[in-house]
């Protein structure tokens, strides 16, 4: 296990390195400059600012400097926010993003499992049809459309939830719903398909032949076997939430990293873009690592440290 972990962490670092490299050069291809009012500045002023931020050096030098800093944990300072260190800027903003993301993930997956399982248990009934409709809607409606609809109906019309503010838990409800819809739909669809498959398998027949009750069969045999494959889609779902959060955080004015990312790209805030890219890649790698480890824990057939036969 330790050896496996070490190997995975090595790959994680390698992945981050590649991501940093590719993003750094792509970012330099972005149109525009970090200067907001370039027209009003003289050439020498611009040169001075560039020199101050090291932007006058050749790109490859900037890249090496950035790498050298990153290794030491120095991710530069933001251009946009009066010289705040990127690490400070992002660490103060990651909380809301993590909260919304995790809430959306947990809500989506749990509700998805429940309605997916119900759909499979009552195949071709109205429950099943509802499951299918919910899945199709959840998958086909983009989170930003849903976000606006939620704001309009639940926020503006009914006034149940604040529309676009950030404060306590009540402020997280709408963004969580908007972000959680896709994971919910995906996992419901996935669990339903898996469970229909599992319920028609021989070992379920055997479980019934043992005299287990319907719920006993579901709980002891069907659920675990249908949920294992769900782990494989947790990674893609996490990506979905991360990308969705960039737009959704903007719509709901959440002071998170998603909102910041969009701002940074628009203003060519190079160090912040880099920092955010690293955070997103890191989070994704960790999610994938966790799902792989989890897979081994819940499925004895692919246990990493499994005893030899």
């Amino acid at each position: 296990m330790a050896k496996y972990l070490a190997k995975r962490i090595f790959y994680l670092i390698l992945t981050l390195f590649i991501v940093i490299t590719v993003t750094f050069f792509l970012m330099k291809l972005l149109p525009g400059t970090p200067l907001t009012n370039q027209a009003k500045l003289s050439k020498s002023q611009i040169a001075l600012i560039y020199q101050q931020y090291g932007l006058d050096k050749p790109v490859w030098q900037q890249y090496l400097l950035y790498l050298a800093g990153a290794v030491k944990g120095n991710f530069g300072t933001s251009f946009q926010f009066s010289d705040q260190p990127v690490s400070y800027l992002l660490s103060s903003r990651i909380g809301p993003s993590l909260q919304i993301g995790l809430q959306a993930m947990i809500l989506g997956v749990i509700v998805g499992i429940v309605i997916g399982a119900l759909g499979a248990m009552r195949q071709n009934s109205w429950v099943d049809t509802t499951t299918t409709v919910v899945s199709i809607l959840g998958i086909s409606i983009p989170s930003f459309v849903l976000a606006v609809l939620l704001q309009y109906y639940l926020g503006l019309k009914l006034g149940w939830f604040p529309i676009a503010e950030w404060g306590g838990f009540i402020y997280t409800v709408l963004p969580t719903l908007a972000l959680g819809a896709t994971p919910l739909a995906e996992s419901a669809r996935f669990v339903r398909t898996e469970m229909v498959d599992v319920l028609s398998s021989d070992y379920i027949e055997l479980a019934k032949a043992k005299g287990l009750s319907r719920m006993g069969v579901i709980y002891h045999h069907a659920l675990r076997n249908s949920l294992i494959p769900l782990i494989t889609i947790v990674g893609p779902l996490a990506v979905n939430i991360m990308t969705g959060s960039m737009v959704v955080e903007n719509i709901f004015s959440i002071p998170g990293i998603g909102e910041q990312f969009v701002k940074s790209v628009l203003t060519n805030d190079y160090p912040t873009i880099m920092g955010l890219t690293i955070i997103y890649s890191f989070m994704l790698c960790v999610v994938l690592l966790i799902t792989d480890i989890l897979y081994g824990i819940v499925d004895p057939r692919i246990r990493i440290t499994g005893k030899a036969n």
Partner: protein, 366 residues
Amino acid sequence: MDNKKDILEVRNLQVNFKTYAGDVKAIRNVNLDLRKGETLAIVGESGSGKSVTTRTIMGLNASNADIVSGSILYKGQDLLKKSEKEMQAIRGQDIAEIFQDPMTSLDPTMKIGRQIAEPLMVHKGMKKEKALAQALEMMKLVGITDAENRINDYPHQFSGGMRQRIVIAIALINYPEVLIADEPTTALDVTIQAQILNLMKELQNKISTSIIFITHDLGVVAGMADRVAVMYAGKIVEYGTVDEIFYNPKHPYTWGLLSSMPTLDSSGDSLPSIPGTPPDLLDPPTGDAFAARNAYALKIDTEKEPPFFKVSDTHYAATWLLHPDAPKVTPPAQIVERQKKYAKMQQDWLDAQRPTTPVEEEEEQQ
């Protein structure tokens, strides 16, 4: 039939499956008796209704199954009148089942000890530790070596033969009165088949259970069964003791089945087969369902369903050929051979009744 010793009686069972195309008449008036301690083999080709019969006994039919009529008496109680809850108490306790494919009939994510112990926990309300201890004993009984260490293994860590032993252990852990074995050796290698069959016979003696053995493999029947029922198109067409069915078959379908079984004496380059395919049970033919494939079919076969004709006290066959007015036909050569053998066996048996030396029954046992 002797009702006193019957543990399971299936009476006039009719089962339809509702489909979009109409009702598929899967079981058409089946009668069966299972006696205490015996092994009854149900033989027939795919789709003849063998498995549907046993599923109906277990109460595990698909949701579109419709039991039109009949009763299934287990120790005098009609299983078809029982609620799902009452059936749950019977399944795995009084009546257990072994399935065809051991590779897929075990839960891949549950330790096998727990899987074997589960019926004890469900039916006897046993605590896990106690149930596992008993499961361990059962594992030893079905011949799993190093059972102490293997009790915490998962199904994928076992071979096919070992898995079928585990499935047998699950079925027998509560010492059921009736064991239904639905083609338990079909998915196994021939060498493993013999081991599993021997194990089943051995355990049947130890825990005195009655077995319904479903198979399409007549070779297996010869070694396992006491009595045989031959099924065709949702009906039983002939039943009798193993010897009667193997050496003195009366129904042309049984002739066909036996002729298409390769034996050491088979000569020629092609194995005989029964021409045609089983009838469409969505709309079963009138008369004898086998008539269309039957080289010996009479005119009446297409008009009227044959009743059971008595061959002996234990042997009945549903074919018009046994009617006193029917023309005498000569069965296929292979069957004539068998009948001759049977006549000789009976003669030997009669000879043996004279108080001389005990006779060896090698031929009977094969």
